[in-house]
Amino acid sequence: MVQITNSAELRSVNAENSTLEFVKPSGLLGLSFKNFFLTILTLGIYSFWARVNVRRYIWSGIHIDGEPLQYTGTGGELFKGFLVVTLLIFIPISLVLTVVSVVFGPASAAYFITLAMVGPLMLFIIGLAIYRSVRYRLSRTVWRGVRGGLSGSAKTYAIKDILFWLLQIPTLGLITPKASVSLTSYIGNTAEFGDQKFSFNASSKPLYKRFALAWLFAIVPFAVLYGQLGLIAYQNGFDEEAISLALENDPSQLLSVLGLIPFAIFVGGIFFILYRVKLLRTLTEGFSYQGVTAKAEGIKFWNFVWLLIGNMMIVSFSFGILAPYAVRRGAKYLCRHIQLQGKIDASAIAQNTRARDTSGEGLATSFDIDAF
């Protein structure tokens, strides 16, 4: 367990730019199997500790200027967060729904009104959870003895998140790129490492060409399909019997449209991946810290697709046991394709004071929603 090497040689450090690299730590196979079997043996309770094991491993592989990150969160903290959220949020909501459905009936107006209120509440909670999980993870990320933090308010983020969700309807989803950039901007402009702030500046405009193409291929076939159905309905005087008879007699008028859908999904899917690549690049390049920015031109369609396909194969062929390898591939991919521009001045960084008072306790710091 205590494996020690003694080579004190320093990694060659580029004098002009800070370096970001992934140095593979050993022991991932053992970690994967240990996580898998202990999670099964403990009926899932170990999954919180398993997640921490993976994070600890991944963080320790990421080196900035030759110094590794450390993940200092614990499984107990994650599990506590899970329990708190379950007891304070999910059980009360489920109980209210159950009581309303018992007292007023599952088909009653009261039940539907309650459901309609729970929806936005859940969106709000998801918004809170995203911001808090970033805050928690930053406060548990240490580099050179200094941790990160977030100075903003989770409520502000959650309200922004809800507003963008509401805008999805009138904009038919076209708000998505704007929402991604704007929400990341709030995180980026409130993020801190040590006593210094990150800033984030990016525009969603360059994303729209790719997103619009993906969007068109998703929308047009269905628009044509419904248009065709509408036309047939109109020709048959909106009579249900006549419409179904007409479709039975000549199914080709719909099949020709239906046949286009798989093609449209394929092409639309490619444009969507192209959009995701551009989004990842834009978001990455939007961050700056001490004037140091990131270049992510290496993130390209083919290597991104290969990352996705490879990870899917690893996870599915190993029945999830080797999922940590997929996480490691993701971390390696980012470290390889992101170049830092400018030099981080570690001597100017002092400890972050914000995160200390919220460390390790309750909902605020422990609400953690992602897989790893």
């Binding site: 059980i91 489920s94 960084i349």
Partner: protein
């Protein structure tokens, strides 16, 4: 064990500047010396390793302050620490996380599972009794409305009279009978079921596939058994509890849609045995042949053995909610050969009940052309 003043580097948790210092190991404590500040001795059980396996330097941090890190590359100090770690044993020393954490949370988890178990076994009966009968009736009514619209319920003068006659035979006590709300719904499915609040539904498919009124009476008596023994209410609470648990485990994103289904599916085997016994007793009291229940089951079983889509249809109706047919057929009471029973209905009444859906202008549903 004594190793004095070996050169190390450290982060003091206040800044990102790497500082030089000297580290001593004295018994179970390490002592850091640096020009910048004096440090207290630290017990080895208060530190843990944060470096990756195979990293260039062994990196120790304080358990309470993971940003305070000591980087050790000095071979003498490294081997001394390793020896000390072996001597004391791995537990509590240099380990990644305190084992007691996992044990404590496991205990919490087991407690939660225990509460969940109580929720499913002991509590349903207790909670069901707390809910007033009127609430159960409303709930049952709204479930029935969800399952069958009023248009799907069959009514006819003669048919209703026949149904009332059968009920009167089975439940002679007016007070008990008046609480039962029995309807016939126009569905091909061969089934009958009880809903909370003593609502009973007979499906037309059951009437059509029964060869005698006794078979219908036997199944009806079985469902009355579920109703009178509060199986439906207990099952409802249990299914609500299950959907609550599913919500919690799945993260609460979906609301218990399965609950409604659960009302119909959640009888346990022992509940079924009780309802069977109830049916047999009720039939004997009414002087109707109790073997009709078994006759009906046998017919279902034959259907089950027959191949084709019919089987699939049946599997989703009676059989799926009432498992283990052979065992239940065997539990039929012994009847002396010379026992004389009176049929549950007269021939005219039986015909009226069978035609109750036809008479109300519904009959067997026409399939929609595709």
């Amino acid at each position: 064990m004594l190793v004095l003043d070996r050169p190390v580097q450290f982060y003091d948790g206040q800044s990102a500047t790497l500082q030089a210092g000297k580290l001593s190991l004295i018994e179970n404590e390490i002592q850091l010396k640096a020009r910048s500040a004096p440090y207290q001795p630290i017990s080895l059980s208060d530190v843990k390793i944060v470096s990756a396996p195979g990293a260039e330097a062994l990196r120790l941090c304080l358990r309470d302050e993971p940003e305070f890190q000591i980087l050790i590359t000095d071979e003498i100090m490294l081997s001394a620490l390793q020896a000390r770690a072996k001597e004391i044993g791995r537990r509590g020393l240099l380990s990644e996380e305190k084992r007691s954490d996992l044990i404590r949370w496991s205990a919490v988890f087991i407690a939660i599972v225990a509460v969940g178990w109580a929720f499913l076994t002991v509590l349903p009966g207790f909670i069901a009794n707390l809910i007033p009968q009127k609430t159960w009736e409303n709930l049952g009514a709204s479930y029935r409305e969800t399952l069958f619209s009023n248009e799907e319920l069959c009514e006819s003068n003669e048919g209703n009279k026949a149904l009332e006659a059968m009920l009167t035979r089975l439940v002679p006590t007016d007070e008990i009978r008046s609480q039962l709300k029995v309807v016939v719904a126009d569905t091909e499915m061969v089934n009958a079921f009880a809903l909370p609040g003593k609502h009973l539904v007979i499906l037309n498919g059951l009437l059509q596939s029964s060869d005698s009124p006794d078979e219908v009476a036997a199944v009806l008596a079985h469902e009355i058994g579920h109703s009178e023994l509060s199986h439906t209410e207990h099952g409802f609470i249990r299914s609500q509890g299950i959907s609550l648990l599913i919500n919690i485990i799945s993260g609460g994103s979906t609301v218990g849609d399965l609950a409604g289904m659960g009302v119909l599916m959640s009888y346990s085997r022992s509940a079924e045995r009780e309802a069977d016994a109830y049916s047999h007793q009720m039939m004997l009291n009414a002087n109707i042949d109790p073997r009709a229940l078994a006759t009906f089951f046998e017919k279902l079983q034959k259907k089950e053995e027959a191949s084709g889509l019919e089987w699939l249809n049946d599997a989703f109706s009676y059989l799926s909610t009432h498992p283990d047919l052979s065992e239940r057929i065997a539990s039929t009471p012994e009847i002396a050969d010379d026992t004389v029973f009176t049929p549950a209905l007269t021939e005219t009444e039986w015909q009226a009940l069978k035609d109750i859906c036809k008479a109300s202008g519904k009959g067997t549903k026409e399939k929609r052309p595709h």
